[in-house]
């Protein structure tokens, strides 16, 4: 596991929007640069960690970091406009200012991936916390076995990064499986549940490490399938989502049993959370 990178947990850094991409009607990506050049240069994160983004006068939201850790230009956040803060963030343009605290939490188990097949199963915007792992593997391709990318969305129109999925699908030793519950005209991929794709995935369960991010129901079904295929429980990871306000394990909202998801997660090994995940309401 990555050691959390501790920084001052007090006031946010001032940051400027340096890039904005509309990914879908409601999803957008902001590239941010810390205004303090030294702070920006010193900023480091691990894939799977998140930042608290602050919209002036409104408040903060936790957003996972989707850019490559070695990309020094902008810190990338892919966001769905869904609440007070994210709808305000959606209106920002390059040059606009926000606050940024982070990075927080424990990221994906990159050290454990070396030499192994890497399987990513994501649902909806769960692809955002996982995309940095894809970039990480592709940049260091020779260090890993097969790369299997499985992504499910409710409606074909919800799929973002279509060109990227197309590009990844053409790479050697890389398999891309995409499903939409509801298809659309010219939809080239599977129509139906993402679980319908599992049997097509080609990897060696004994030497694979799998990572999941998406709705908890989807992750439970995925876990059942992967474990049934012979993946050891210790090789299965997931990223969890809970209400986060302080991001440093203090405000209490994100508690999941004894874990503070913001500090002890958001990435957990399956064994750490499987018991409680079986119960609704935690």
């Amino acid at each position: 596991m990555n050691a959390p990178h501790t920084i001052d947990s007090g006031a946010p850094h001032a940051a400027t929007v340096v890039a904005r991409t509309q990914e879908s009607p409601t999803i957008f990506t902001l590239g941010l640069r810390l205004d303090d050049a030294a702070a920006h240069a010193a900023y480091r994160f691990a894939p799977g960690q998140f930042n608290m983004l602050y919209l002036y006068g409104v408040g903060e939201v936790p957003i996972s970091i989707m850019s490559d850790p070695e990309d020094r230009d902008g810190i990338g956040h892919t966001i769905r406009a869904v609440g007070r803060v994210t709808r305000g963030l959606a209106a920002l343009q390059p040059g606009d200012r926000v606050g940024l605290r982070g990075p927080f939490g424990r990221g994906w188990p990159l050290q454990e991936m070396g030499g192994r097949d890497v399987v990513l199963v994501t649902g909806g915007l769960g692809c955002a916390p996982a995309v940095s792992v894809i970039h990480y593997v592709l940049k260091r391709r020779e260090r890993f076995g097969k790369l299997v990318i499985i992504q499910g969305v409710k409606h074909a129109d919800d799929l973002i990064w279509r060109e990227q999925y197309d590009r990844w699908a053409k790479l050697p030793d890389t398999q891309v499986l995409v499903a939409a519950d509801e298809g659309a005209a010219l939809w080239p991929w599977h129509v139906g549940r993402v679980t319908g794709l599992f049997d097509l995935a080609r990897f060696n369960p004994a030497r694979a490490v799998a990572m999941m991010c998406g709705p908890e129901g989807m992750m439970r079904v995925t876990a059942e399938h992967l474990l049934a295929r012979g993946l050891p429980e210790s090789s299965l990871y997931l990223s969890m989502e809970r209400n986060m306000q302080c991001a440093v394990g203090r405000c209490g909202h994100c508690q999941f049993g004894g874990a503070f998801v913001c500090r002890d997660g958001p990435v957990f090994n399956w064994g750490e959370v499987k018991t409680l995940l079986a119960h609704r309401g935690f």
Partner: protein
């Protein structure tokens, strides 16, 4: 007061005993007492006219260290839209709290473990905590809702205090619990306690423990509760619980807080504040598009299993110190000792 402390002590306010600033050395009120039952708190008169014959009020130390509302940082926006952030730290006077109980000290130790965690000390809490001088009192007359003997946290203060008092018919037995406390004792013109007085104080503590009628079946209920997450009792208690959050407000160990932004009317600045929050509130489990705990059953279960079960994972002990406040201040009189008894009827084994 002469030592420069703001002194807080028991005072009667809105029908309850609360900690308020004492304005004169003789400002400490005598003869206050309170009857406590599930859903009931009534202030009465102590026939013996003692200073500390009351067991506890709704709050003691928590609001002094973990403020119910405080500003964490502020941000200024200039004409060009640039943001400038600055941390805000509280300015707190040296503060002595007179009349805290063993349960309050045990709760403070847990709040310390949470807010002053190694590597992530909360600066606001730390600032307030450093200013405290705690004058603890042995409970001679526990309320009917008290069960600190069962949690191992009272009724006699054993750690965490600067001074500890035991109130006897012929005066006080005073003990220092810290160098700060010893310095105060040394400055006072006191006569040494007799062995009879020390023995009387010890017996008084034992009698107060023996007088408690409530209790929990074990100090560690982690596995007992986590193996009963689908017990029918959760539905039953949810039907009575109003999800008002009173229990979490009076609980001396509850630490949940919300963070909110409060913009100034001129639009040029905004303050980021934290305010006490409760896992019984609708927004506590809110995520975009859905609520993790949309019903009262899951909220009550979250509270009780956190307090008595998963607290062990986080802090190595239960989060309950047996003060009984959640029982007395629950408007419908839900008694957590009764709920635990019902959940573990037939034994505490998983």
């Amino acid at each position: 007061m002469q030592l420069g402390y703001q002194c807080l002590g028991p005072a009667l306010e809105n029908g309850a005993i609360v900690m308020r600033e004492l304005d004169a050395p003789d400002g400490l009120q005598r003869g206050l007492q309170a009857e406590q039952e599930p859903g009931r708190y009534r202030v009465t008169q102590d026939p013996h006219h003692r200073y500390f014959a009351w067991a506890n009020g709704p709050q003691a130390i928590k609001p002094q260290v973990f403020a119910a509302k405080e500003s964490l940082w502020r941000v200024e926006r200039d004409a060009a839209g640039r943001l400038q952030f600055a941390a805000m730290l509280p300015v707190v006077p040296k503060q002595a709290i007179i009349g805290v109980r063993a349960c309050d000290l045990a709760a403070l130790a847990l709040q310390d473990a949470h807010f002053l965690r190694e590597g992530r000390r909360d600066a606001h809490y730390a600032q307030r905590r450093a200013q405290l001088f705690l004058v603890a009192v042995q409970c001679a007359e526990p309320a009917a809702t008290c069960f600190c003997a069962s949690t191992g946290d009272g009724p006699t203060p054993t750690a965490g205090h600067d001074l500890a008092l035991a109130e006897l018919a012929d005066g006080f037995v005073i003990e220092a619990g810290s160098d700060k406390g010893q310095a105060v004792l040394d400055a006072l013109n006191l006569s040494p306690a007799t062995s009879q007085q020390i023995e009387a104080a010890r017996r008084q503590g034992e009698a107060a423990a023996a007088a408690q009628t409530r209790g929990l079946p074990a100090r560690n209920l982690r596995d007992a509760l986590m193996s009963r997450l689908e017990h029918l009792r959760w539905d039953e208690v949810a039907a009575r619980c109003l999800a008002c959050g009173n229990c979490t407000a009076v609980c001396p160990t509850c630490f949940c807080h919300a963070e909110v932004d409060v913009p100034a009317l001129d639009g040029e600045t905004s303050q980021h504040e934290r305010i006490w929050d409760s896992c019984f509130g609708e927004t506590h489990g809110h995520l975009h598009g859905f609520n993790v705990r949309s019903d009262i059953k899951s909220r009550y279960r979250q509270w009780l299993t956190h307090k008595l079960a998963t607290w062990h994972d986080q802090f190595g002990r239960s989060g309950c110190v047996g003060c009984g406040r959640c029982i007395a201040w629950c408007p419908v009189g839900i008694d957590l000792t009764e709920e635990v008894a019902a959940l573990t009827a037939g034994g505490v084994q998983p």
